[in-house]
């Protein structure tokens, strides 16, 4: 499957994505908040600096909100990576969350991991698992273990059919092989090396109960494949980019937006991750979250727009920019990058 950008699909354009969501007739997100008595989203203390190092990936998954793939070349420069480290040096943000694409394919990945750990921060690698098997990534698992990087790994189903449908033929078998490699290195075995799995639905519906799904995952992966993990996180699919293309192609967009609206959860809105995250793009631009980044909705224009400006002027607090896609983070048990609300 090629990226939307490479086939010049109209939905490669963020503007067209936002227009498509508006055409469904779904109300503006801030209007939904107001009608449900939830205050507009203001940031709190920043707990997570999420850095998207680029769009290059060895997979092209059917739901990818980044439209990542092997044909994408956007990648963070060393200068920008140094600015990330400078920000962490100046501000006690406890967690550095590295994402992509497949972030490990960025030339700056190991630099950021080493710097983040040297500063004593928790470092998260949002990993697609199969990248760990690439010949070019030899030594990556020992590197991650040595630096005690927490791994958050995508695995939409404990069954091959679901995972392969969403992420590509053969991905489930490779993901299990990669998990085995991580287990062999001590990940998921209770020795302090953490590998969490991410479930997201293979279709136009919301994820089931996180705890119940975790039981199924734990039993099926252990009994059938001999692999273990720490926690399962359930994350709803965002109605943007390639998942939006799927919704449009299958005439599900209106139905999915109705579902998100009908299951709007005020508690999930209050705990949504953008209030405690700052998202950095591969080019150093600042966003409220990775989804806004892909929709090219930068942070509130009143504040610094780039890492460089933030380092020069300061100013981490801001009002979160929202649009209709935000309903994806407030539906059901909640979602964001941290899974359902416990």
């Amino acid at each position: 499957m090629p990226s939307l950008l490479s086939v010049r699909h109209p939905l490669a354009s963020p503007t067209e994505q936002l227009r498509t969501l508006a055409r469904t007739g779904a109300p503006a997100f801030d209007a939904v908040l107001e009608s449900r008595g939830v205050a507009p989203l203001e940031t709190r203390a920043i707990e997570v600096l999420q850095v998207n190092v680029g769009k290059l990936c060895n997979q092209t998954c059917g739901h990818c909100h980044v439209d990542a793939g092997p044909d994408r070349r956007e990648s963070m420069t060393h200068e920008t990576a140094e600015q990330v480290v400078e920000l962490l040096t100046r501000h006690p943000i406890p967690t550095l969350d590295i994402t992509g694409g497949a972030p490990e394919l960025s030339p700056e990945f190991r630099f950021l991991v080493e710097a983040g750990r040297r500063l004593g921060r928790r470092v998260i690698d949002r990993c697609n698992l199969t990248v760990l098997l690439l010949p070019s990534q030899d030594g990556l698992v020992p590197f991650l273990a040595e630096h005690r990087v927490d791994i958050v790994a995508s695995l939409p189903s404990f069954r091959a059919s679901g995972t392969d449908t969403q992420r590509g033929e053969g991905v489930f078998a490779k993901s299990v092989a990669a998990l085995r490699r991580l287990n062999d290195a001590g990940y998921g075995t209770g020795r302090g090396l953490v590998v969490d799995l991410v479930h997201n639905p293979v279709g136009a519906f919301l994820p089931g109960t996180q705890a119940s799904l975790e039981r199924d995952y734990r039993r099926e992966l252990r009994d059938r494949h001999g692999v273990v993990f720490d926690r399962l996180l359930t994350i709803a699919n965002m109605p943007i980019s390639r998942f939006l293309e799927f919704l449009e192609r299958t005439a599900n967009t209106g139905r999915y937006m109705d579902l998100l609206l009908r299951t709007f959860n005020p508690a999930a809105a209050a705990g949504v991750m953008c209030r405690t995250h700052l998202s950095v793009g591969w080019d150093g631009a600042l966003y409220d979250c990775d989804f806004n980044q892909m929709l090219e909705l930068p942070v509130d224009p009143g504040g610094p727009a780039t890492l460089r400006a933030l380092l020069e002027r300061g100013g981490l607090s801001r009002r979160v920019r929202t649009d209709r896609h935000c309903l994806g983070c407030t539906a059901g048990a909640g979602s964001s990058c941290g899974g359902a609300l416990e």
Binding site: S157, R159, S161, F205, G208, T209, S212, L213, R215, D216
Partner: protein, 110 residues
């Protein structure tokens, strides 16, 4: 066109709580407890419900539990197997009554 079955009626299920809300409340309390994670996971219970839905041939239940199975992580292989289980039991229940037919035929026949 008027039909007895209308897909939109599924979302009106809660209207059965009108008039005798205390009965509805008791039913829903029981219903929620039945489908909660227990010795069986929510996914396993949803697969049983899907099989029963086909056995009782309730289109509302088939709609609801197809979605529930998918949400709870079941895939089409598992859901198809669940329908076959329902079908096997339905077919078997007809077939096993054939023993009654045979008993009667043997009693009255020459």
């Amino acid at each position: 066109m008027d039909t007895y079955y209308c897909p939109h009626d599924l979302s009106k299920f809660a209207e059965m709580g009108k008039n005798r809300p205390e009965l509805w409340a008791k039913y829903m309390e029981y219903y929620s407890a039945v489908f909660a994670d227990g010795a069986l996971t929510e996914r396993e219970k949803a697969l049983i419900a899907l099989g029963v839905a086909h056995s009782v041939q309730c289109p509302y239940c088939i709609d609801a539990y197809t979605n529930a199975c998918l949400e709870k992580g079941a895939d089409l292989d598992q859901m198809t197997e669940a329908v076959h289980v329902a079908n096997a039991i339905r077919g078997g229940s007809s077939l096993v009554h054939g023993v009654q037919m045979r008993n009667i035929a043997e009693k009255v026949g020459m």
